[in-house]
Amino acid sequence: MIAARAHHGSAALRHVVLIASSLFILMPFVWMVSLSIKSPQEAFQQTISLIPSVFYGHENYQRAFVDVPLLRFMGNGLLICISVLVIQLAIAAPSAYALAKLEFRGRDAIFAMVLVGLLIPHQVLAIPLFILFNKIGILNSYASLILPGVISPFGIFLLRQFFKAVPDDLIHAARLDGLSELSIVWRIMVPSSMSAVIAFSILSVVSRWNDLFLPLIFIQDQQLLTPPAGIMLFRSEEAGNSYGPLMAAATLIVAPLLIAFLIAQRRFIEGLTVSGLK
């Protein structure tokens, strides 16, 4: 009895801590959604209330689309995220296969370099990239947003850990069945490590979709902006009274990510926890 009660007690405590910390993390999002449906007057009131007295969402969301070309920004974001992801995977999967399963001289040294690559923050490379892009004339273009980061040390590392766990016999069988080394990557290794690929894809898309740094540095043309850089335009507009539309736009930007994450949640968590064990 006592043991059971103690057990219940500790379980309750655990839940209280978890709920409190998740509320803490969720609060800004809830606040964002709340602001996006409030009128400007109410947004600046001193009292804290989540539910607005007058529902002003319609106006705010409409202005989010009208004041700035939000759909255009989202299209840009989608194009860039998908291009980056496709190139990242096209490079990371074969590299990871080579590092995990092929024997060649200098393999360990190359893997060490990948690990070093994990540690370099991409901001460090901004100035050299700016100069380089300027020289080859691709500043202020989609390419300048896509090319930095198409080689992902994290992607190579994560996939390599997963590929290492694929049994050698499977690769041997594939070689006998007539698969080339590249077919082995795409037909055997990638499908066998689908959770890792999905986890990596989500992380890659989220970080690129939300990235504010690259567009601010490389882009002048408003038509090429990505969503987070695009909604900065609300701020520079006249007085600071466009919080409502800004928050509405921010909500719209986060929504696709949330939906994608919820769909892939299980595989995503699988992917990251397994890699943590290895």
Binding site: D169, L170, H172, R175, L176, D177, G178, L179, I188, S192
Partner: protein
């Protein structure tokens, strides 16, 4: 169809030699078994024949042509792995079809979605589906084709792995302990199926196992390996009854062969404890040499009568298997353990601690020198005598 020959194959892993200049000739259509304890290099040799691993020295020829520079898929060999190595996210049907898909479709035709619109792709796909169906029927896999490997039992996976090997009609089948993950009953059943398959296909089979019973029942010839050497290559009967050396004798046969220490006296007789055996030694053996006598359990005949000749022994344990009984006993030195086969009727009269005499015909004694070499006996008639008799 093809014969396979390995010549002086040496494989070195990180400084240690795993195969020491192994040579092996497998005849066209033969069922040859590589048998030996764990780690003796059986799988390594098989992988080298398949081209999945490169030997450091030596050469592999298939059908008379050296294939050392030929990639695995061009060698026309198929392999069945101990772990089955089925593609986990593909159905049984897709697993079996893959070798054909890779061979019969062009890269364009293999593309997902648009591939089936490429000219000729549909006809080829239909042809592949037909061949997969044929193989599935031959193996009784029909109803399982749409299942994934995780939804099948070990025996069913084994069959799918066999099907994937069969579907491309290879000249040579390499099988690496394909039955070791199955339960005893299924293993016996699959033994029959695989030998039946070998007869039907007429292809060359090289079969790896560490189970000597599999080796004995399935093969045309058996190669007994140890620590990277082939100790003997002969028919199952011959490796059992006429082993080249003590390692082969020890590995083949269950229960293990009885090994009894012995000394050659001045009259060129063998002294085994209180027993003397004359006339079975080669003339070259000098007095004073110690040798080891190998006797199979069925070569030892039980005699209760204390006055008769034979090796004196104390029974320690009677193991009854129904049709046969194995009598475990210790010889007079109280350390040498032996096992004799007896009928249940004989065994019923014996209990732990019973003193028995174990008699044998000297013809059946295998004599090994101290370094394990077999010493073949002369043809003259042996004479058995009791000490002091």
């Amino acid at each position: 169809m093809a014969n396979v020959s390995a010549t002086d194959i040496t494989k070195i892993f990180g400084g240690t030699s795993v195969l020491n200049s192994v040579s092996l000739d497998v005849r066209d259509g033969e069922f040859l078994t590589l048998v030996g304890p764990s780690g003796c290099g059986k799988s390594t040799l098989l992988r080298i024949i398949a081209g999945l691993e490169r030997q450091n020295f030596g050469s592999i020829a298939i059908d008379g042509k050296a294939v050392d520079a030929v990639r695995p898929k061009m060698r026309n060999v198929a392999m069945v792995f101990q772990s089955y190595a089925l593609y986990p996210y593909m159905t049984a049907e897709e697993n079996i079809a893959l070798p054909l898909v890779m061979r019969k479709l062009t890269a364009w035709q293999r593309l997902p979605l648009i591939g089936s619109w490429m000219p000729g792709a549909r006809a080829r796909r239909a042809e592949i589906a037909r061949e997969v169906q044929d193989v599935a029927n031959a193996l009784g896999l029909g109803p399982l084709l749409s299942r994934k490997p995780s939804q099948m039992s070990g025996g069913q996976r084994q069959r799918v792995a066999l099907g994937r090997a069969m579907v491309r009609h290879p000249d040579v089948f390499l099988m690496d302990e394909p039955l070791s993950n199955l339960d005893a009953k299924l293993r016996v059943q699959m033994r029959e199926e695989i030998t039946g398959l070998h007869r039907r296909l007429g292809a060359t089979f090289i079969y790896v196992t560490h189970d000597q019973a599999e080796a004995m029942t399935m093969s045309d010839r058996v190669a007994v390996m140890k620590s990277g050497d082939i100790l003997q290559l002969a028919s199952p009967q011959q490796v059992y009854s006429d082993p080249e050396n003590i390692e082969v004798a020890k590995f083949i046969g269950s229960p293990q062969i009885n090994l009894i220490p012995s000394i050659v006296n001045e009259k060129a007789e063998l002294e085994i404890f209180d027993m003397k055996v004359a006339g079975i030694l080669p003339a070259s053996i000098r007095p004073g040499m110690s040798v080891t006598i190998g006797l199979r359990p069925e070569a030892l005949k039980l005699a209760l009568d204390d006055s008769s000749d034979g090796l004196l022994a104390h029974v320690t344990y009677v193991e009854s298997l129904g049709s046969d009984s194995y009598i475990h006993a210790k010889l007079v030195d109280r350390t040498t353990a032996v096992i004799a086969r007896a009928t249940p009727a004989e065994a019923a009269t014996i209990g732990n601690g019973t003193r028995v005499r174990l008699r044998f015909s000297p013809k059946e004694a295998l004599i090994f020198s101290d370094n394990g070499e077999r010493l073949r006996s002369n043809n003259c008639l042996p004479i058995l005598r009791k000490v002091g008799g």
